[in-house]
Structures are given as structure tokens and as C-alpha cells.
């Protein structure tokens, strides 16, 4: 009885994993088929191994530029979120001023508002700042959207750290600013991982804001470049669509596989604390 239940459990898990992976495998097959191949031709699982697709996709789409742009936006936004977010959280957790309480309350109440709600008025502001079609503008927008939840995670974490070391450093004549950078910030490591992971992929994949703020082909991020590139095919050229998608997906999967251990830990830490 027990071993039968166990067997069913394992079978179910294998099936679930298969359902999760098969679409990726199909994508890979499509990306390796010759353009003239009529879909599957009686053979579902073995492609033509036609690597020219990747060369064509790389040259015809702007996916290379888009990957660089996405990387720049992600790194810039994460840097802003980490520095500003951790500084704010430290202040909120350690100093009981009215202004700090207000800032925390403000972030908490705005955490529930999805970015799309104020994207249109933001667009008007971005025009006046000359920030449309700039990577720095997009970085600031993405950072702002992610800021509340990051402050929330950091604040919870700083509160769980002991005050004694910080206070000892203050007695020794250290300023609060130095205490934060030299003592508290290095201790934030687990929550830094959580914040990077929870926001990094979302910023990398951002489309809802990119549609508005990155219209210039040279400034497209990955989703925006793909959607513009695919629209001209009107449903044809699956081999090129698939090859471009594979190229676009590779950096994310590599990053995910490298960081998956700390990802799972970070998510757990973030979730349990949150």
C-alpha cells in the first residue's frame, strides 16, 4: 500500500516536470528545423539540426542589442533598489521618527498598486525629463516599481539583526552612516539575495513599461525587441521565431541555474519573513 502510494507520488512528480519542460523542448526543436520543413512531417521529436536559424535570427533581429539593454537596465535598477532600499530600511528599522514611519506606511500602501496604473501620467513626465527611449529612464522606472517590496523585505531583516554591534561602534565614535555601510549592509546578504531574485527576473522581462518607454529599436529590451520582430512575421517563419526566443531565453536560464540555490533560499527567507 505504502509503496504504491509512493510510486504514484513519484510518477505524478515526473509528469509535472515533463509538462513544465516539454514546451522548452518543442521550442528547441522548432529552432533547429529548416525553414521549408512542413511542421513535423511525421517526426515530432527529432529536428533537422539546421543551425543557420540562429545565425539568421541573430543578424535579422536586434536581439543582441536587446540583451545588452536588458542587462544594463537590470543592473542599474537593482543597484538603485539595493542602495536606496537598504538605506531607507535601516533608517526605518533603527530610528523611530515620524518621517520614517510615514515613509514606511507610504511604501506599504503603494506596494499593492501595479505599475500599469500610473504608467500613462508617468509617460507625460518622462517626455518632459527627456527620459523616453533612454536606458537610465527605464532603470529609474523599474527601480521605483520594485522599491516598496524591497524596503519591506529589508526592514524586516534589519529588525531581526541585533543592535549591540552598531551601538558599540557608535560609542567608539563611528557615524551612523559609516555604521550602516561597514557593519549592517554586509550583514544584509541573505535579504540582498532575496531582493535581487524577486525583482531581477521581473525587471529583465519587463514588457508592460517597455512598451511605453522603449520604442526606439536601438533601446529595445528583450521582450520589446521580440514582440516587434515577431509582429512582422504575422505567424510565419517559426524557425526564426523559435531561434530568437531560444537566444533570448538562454541568459535567463543560465542565470537561474547558477543562482537557483540562493534563489530558493532567498524566496524562502523572503516569504517566511514577509
Amino acid at each position: 500500500m505504502n509503496s504504491a502510494v509512493n510510486f504514484m507520488k513519484h510518477l505524478a512528480i515526473i509528469l509535472i516536470c515533463a509538462v513544465c519542460l516539454i514546451p522548452f523542448y518543442i521550442l528547441l526543436i522548432l529552432s533547429l528545423n529548416k525553414p521549408q520543413r512542413i511542421f513535423y512531417q511525421g517526426n515530432l521529436f527529432v529536428p533537422d539540426f539546421y543551425f543557420q536559424n540562429f545565425i539568421d535570427a541573430w543578424q535579422k533581429s536586434h536581439i543582441g542589442t536587446a540583451i545588452v539593454n536588458s542587462a544594463v537596465i537590470t543592473v542599474e535598477s537593482l543597484a538603485i533598489i539595493l542602495i536606496f532600499g537598504a538605506m531607507a530600511a535601516f533608517t526605518i528599522a533603527r530610528f523611530d521618527y515620524k518621517f520614517n514611519k510615514f515613509v514606511f506606511w507610504l511604501f506599504m500602501s503603494c506596494m499593492m498598486i501595479p505599475g500599469i496604473i500610473n504608467t500613462v501620467p508617468l509617460y507625460a513626465l518622462m517626455i518632459r525629463l527627456n527620459a523616453i527611449n533612454t536606458l537610465w529612464g527605464m532603470s529609474l522606472v523599474c527601480a521605483t516599481i520594485a522599491l516598496p517590496s524591497s524596503v519591506f523585505i529589508f526592514t524586516g531583516f534589519v529588525k531581526s539583526l541585533p543592535r549591540e554591534i552598531e551601538e558599540a561602534a557608535i560609542i567608539d565614535g563611528c557615524s551612523w552612516f559609516r555604521v550602516f555601510w561597514k557593519i549592517t549592509f554586509p550583514l544584509l546578504k541573505p535579504s540582498v539575495a532575496a531582493v535581487i531574485i524577486l525583482n531581477g527576473f521581473g525587471i529583465w522581462n519587463n514588457y508592460a513599461q517597455a512598451v511605453f518607454f522603449l520604442q526606439d529599436t536601438k533601446k529595445h529590451n528583450i521582450p520589446q525587441a521580440l514582440s516587434v520582430y515577431f509582429q512582422q512575421f504575422a505567424g510565419a517563419h517559426w524557425n526564426l521565431m523559435a531561434a530568437t526566443a531560444v537566444i533570448a531565453v538562454i541568459p535567463v536560464i543560465v542565470a537561474f541555474l547558477i543562482f537557483q540555490k540562493s534563489l530558493m533560499k532567498g524566496l524562502t527567507a523572503g516569504a517566511v519573513k514577509g
Partner: protein, 276 residues
Amino acid sequence: MAVPAFLLFAVFFLYPLSQGIWMSLTDWDGISRANFIGLRNFFDFFKDSRAIADIKNTLIFALGSAPLLNLVGLGYALLMNGKFKGKGIARVMIYLPAIISPLIMGYIWYMLLQPDRGFVFHALDLIGKSSLLGNWLGDYTACMVVLVLVNVWQYAGMTMVIYLAGLQSIPDELYESAKIDGAGFWDSFRYVTMPMLLPSIRINVVTNIIGSLAVFDIVMALTDGGPGYATETLSIYIMRMCYGSKTGYSTAVAIIMFFIILIPVMISMRLTREKE
């Protein structure tokens, strides 16, 4: 030191938000002078049958997506909670779809589900059941079901990980004492697992409600809001109205959407708090 974060937030969030409230009361087209027109945009919204249909689409998507995501995610988590070989790899595989851009996921499923030439059609053809697959993406009801299922497929792993974290924080002693008190599987699930899981339930329910009511990417890629406007959601409507030079109107829609999201979020927060 909270000032830089506050300033950034004030400039790129609070200021546009307050501007949005003003803009929603004007006929601004994005270029010429804005005229104050009172609440006319809001009246226009409720008179527009396309807008009402978009509210309905958004709600139907969320009503399908948010509960199903939680059920599937919880089911996965319960299944994965024990110790077994390959657990780490299985978790990575199930989580994998969630890190990929929903836009790319939409395109992949678009190619999988095409009638006559998609993978699903040919796979069904192999077992002689190809008639099962109709033109799902061209059918009003079916494409909504497909959108919900693809969304659940993509984010079940994320929901699962949060439930797993919650499950692992439940001490074994609780289950043991429940067993001594004569509790069976369902009893201990109901009286130990569920109450202890409440924080994870709250996170998942709230994020899934917000995520599914603001859905954008996957619909753009899979159906482009079509056929017709059958799967157009509020976020797509906002974007299209903004590009259609109805800037003032689109901010009014955003404000309406804000309340559509706020109400269920407040209700679910209240519900998960009281039981604690």
C-alpha cells in the same frame, strides 16, 4: 537616509499618480492643451461596451487564474514536501517557467496550439485524436481557458515554492500530537496544516489577485486581445487608449482599475488576517 528612496518614489510614483488623478478629469490627447471636463471620462467608460467587456474579461481571467494557481501550487507543494531523491532538480524544473518572460511563454504556446501545424495538434494526431483540438485561439470561450491554463502552468512553480516554505516551517511535533489525538490525514490537514500555512496563503492569494488582474504580457503574445476584443484586458485597454490619443481617458480607466484591484485585495487580506 530614507530620503533618497522617498525622493525617487515621490518623483516617479507619487507625482505621476497625483497628475493621473488630474489628467483623468481632462480631455487631454497627449499633445494639445488639456481641458477640464469633470467626470465625463468616467461616464464614457461605463457607456462603452468594449470597456465593460474588458472588465468582464479581466475578472473572468482573474477568477479562473488566482484560485487555480493557488490550488495547483498547494497541490504541488504537498506532493513535493517529503524527502525524496531528485527533489532539488524537480523543484528547479517546476519553477523554471516562472523566470521566463510571459511574453516569450505566450509565443511558445501560440506555436504549440496552432490548429493543423502546432505540436499539440500533431501529438494528438499520433494517437488519432486530432479532432479534439479545434481553433482554440480563435474561439471566444476556448482562448480564455487557454490563457488561464498557460498562466497557471507558468506560475504554479512560484506559488509552490512559497507554499513549500510555509510547509517547512510547520514543526513536526504538531503533526505528532495531532496523531496522538486521533486525527486522520484530513483532520491534521484542516486543523494543523491550513492554519499554519495562513501567512503563505495570504502572500500567494494577494500576489496572484494583483498579478492576474493586471495581466498584460501573456495576453499580448497569445491572443493580442483577440479574437476581436474577446480577451482584451484592462491593462491592454489602457495602453491602446493611451496610444489612441485618449490620454486623459486612459488615466481614468487606470483609476477604475485601481479600485477593481483594491477591493478583492482588501477582502482577501481581511479574510486571512481574522483567522490568525
